[in-house]
Amino acid sequence: MKFRFHDKSVEAQPGDTIAAALFRSGQRIFSRSFKYHRPRGLLCVSGKCPNCLMNVDGVPNVRTCITPARQGMEVKAQNAYPSLETDFLSITQHFDWLMPVGWYYKTLTLPAMWHAAEPAIRKVAGLGEILPSAPTEYEHAWMHTDTAVVGGGLAGMQAALGAAERGEEVILIDDQATLGGHLRYHKRSGPVPDDIIAWLQAAKNIRLLQNSYCFGLYEGSLLGVLQRDPHTAAAERLVHLRASHIVVATGAYETPILFPNNDLVGVMLSTGVLRLLHLYGVPAGKRAVVVGESAAAEEVSGELRGGGIEVVAAVEPHAVIRATGAGKVDGILTRTGPFPCDLIVICGPRVPDTGLIAQAGGKIEWSDVQGAFLPTVLPPEVSAVGEAAGESVANTTVPLPASKRAFVCLCSDVSSTDLCQGIAEGFDEIETLKRYTTATMGPCQGRMCQLSAIGVCARETGRSLGQTGMTTSRPPNPGVTMGALAGPKHHPVRRTPMHYAHSNLGAVWMDMGDWQRPRYYANRSTASDAEPVLIEYQAVREAAGLIDVSTLGKLDVRGADSGKLLDKVYTHRFSDLRPGRVRYALMCDEGGIILDDGTISRLSEDRYFVTTTSGNLDFVHQWLEWCLSGTGWDVHITNVTAGYGATNLAGPNSRDILRKLTDCDLDSSVFPYMACREAEVKGIPAILLRIGFVGETGWEIHCPAESAEELWQALLDTGQEFGIRPFGVEAQRLLRLEKRHVIVGVDTDALTNPYEADMGWAVKLDKDDFVGKRLLTHAHAARDESREHLVGFVLEAPSVPDDGAAIVVDGQPAGRVTSSRYSPARTAGIGLAWVKTARAQEGASIDVRVGGRLVKAKVTMTPFYDPEGRRLRQ
């Protein structure tokens, strides 16, 4: 198995992580530090420190020490130019006196300074590079369980088995590929009992999530779990895991100790060295010095010797003066003398991993006896086992006093000197010190540095560790890729039943919410957009047109009290609507603001058919349900939007076309404007509404969705000899604008009441109480001159303003255009606009801003086309 690391090919053994394979191949520098670009090598080998972050297959900040190597991977270093071995920016470490802690706050005190410095800072700061498009796929999953156990070490495995034996459903999460925790590499505690793993795998009510880490515990016992390589089609899966009970078995991790040069390549934690040795068979060096309390140091020394590493000396932590070497360790200076070596093994304090417990609201307190912060109070749904609970944690090593520069925070190069400086400047609480110095705020989220930072803070302020306390633990920790949080690239699209018929007709699509609608049908012989729209327009005005209006919201409202509900919710009266009639329906909120409009048809005594605007269906449905809730009225509301397809057949020839397909008498004397019938059209049961959004004789035909395409085709075929054309949204917008029909949400906004929108006729203040009545009554009585009114306008020069263009009166802004088009009927630019109430008079003069100049226009309060509505009624 081979992968690429820059321009070389690296051989990997089965079971290797990327870092293990690189180390075996001789790579020692794995990254360059954030601020000073100092070389950094492997430290923890367990995904807890920031030292091995690399770019893998385009994904930045991958923890290579826990990421399995795979054939053909592309691995690249980050934050180093031109290479890991030689990084020009490493010169910055000699100028650290120029960049003291809080440098940004102290130096860039004027906006101009920041703007001058920002481009340079942006170039060198930050970590990793983000590709504009994710190179891999991500997905989300939702899981529920009785018990979730976080951590696959011995304590976690036993907890999982215990819960499973009680009959609970269990999910066990472990961040390694193999269960066993530290038993796998720690010879004295190990090996991992084979039978336990076999039991776990055999248990039917235990689900194992391996190679998965838990990055946060949220409200409602929700665990955020990131599962790597869930299957071949996804790189990562974010699992939203709900558990009734959570067992934290996250164990403890080793942390560094402070001495000058403690960040040199070749300074490693003892657990990291043992992992490399026992899990991957790679000795971390040839000649080692072990730093630790005698018992721990002796035990580690024994293991190292067994692995073929020469142990030059074992040194007590307080005897260390500094590590030596240029970039890489070449020795250590101690009070017992200098020792040349290529590896310094740190037996550091073990820190129980209590982050999840703190996030759940548990209390974490310092224990002098065990030398660690331990959970003391747990919320009822959380328990802790093993080292996370403090079991067998006994630290005697307290962070050392540091006179010279020792690195506390490896993520952002914060040294003990920086911390002391911050405290001297007054940031003497651990939380403010953290924010000022950024210690514990890097990619490792304080795992490596928190204990040391607390130690330094405690010593400098003369407080105990317990008094100093911990910083707040917040998710996500460890970090999560943005792609995993975002989830799959999933863009749901709604298609009408006639979608493919439109495609065949050359539809040019537009998105309307989730829906796709034909904007117009492309005429393949011309390239311009305008011409097909004009042809479609002319067909509707002069012959016949057909548009798919299936996207309209459709609600079936039934029951004896339906009329009562609609009277309450809409501004017009519907209880007195005769069966077979249609009425325009306007809906306002309690403030009298327009929410939605549509039509309501009474199909029978206790059945109404309600249409809503396409985008507002869910809202209107919920609004109706809300107004109904608790009333006890006999009403049932069913959303039939997807169940019905709908077309609008419009134009002077539409009656002739429809007559050929139905027995229903379409003559205006029996089927007048604003009437409705249930009838068969070409044998398909349909609801016919005689309404006219586009201003011509026409029918909105609703039929079962499964027959809608057939009906669409039948109408087009039958209409052939009458000059029918399908028309799209663009032509419909123009046709309705000529009729001055308002589109709610386009021509109205969140402040519009019906009177100002010139639709006062649709409000029946004389009916019993309805939603909005009180404030509508008020709005009706108080005609406020300071407010605005929706008017039509006709431009006096041949031009068309953009939607949103300014209205100008006497050189002052006096309103805005909401919709505007060129009107073939008026051979002029027309539109709707909000103007000050005083200007809302027939013939008033206004200026409209069109492309930077002012064009004169006349206000009109009547439709631009067929103002008496004769054509509609024909």
Partner: protein, 85 residues
Amino acid sequence: MSFLLPCPNCGKRSVYEFRFGGEVKPTPAADASVSEWQNYRFNRVNASGIQTEWWFHRSGCRQWLQAVRNTISNEVLESFLPGEN
């Protein structure tokens, strides 16, 4: 925000299945003053503590319900269909 909300019809569900519908408050009388109606329409109590709220179970039974929630802890003390408490 990721708490569980008990729906009287469906049981405990993720709060993301619901649409928040605001505070439950008495509707003013039909002839109440304009300022009372404006107060009802535009102002909120925004309690820090326990309040009764409207919730719509959008991804479930599609019913409106009322829940008594502690806005500090997001603990839901009880929930019921309107008129059933």
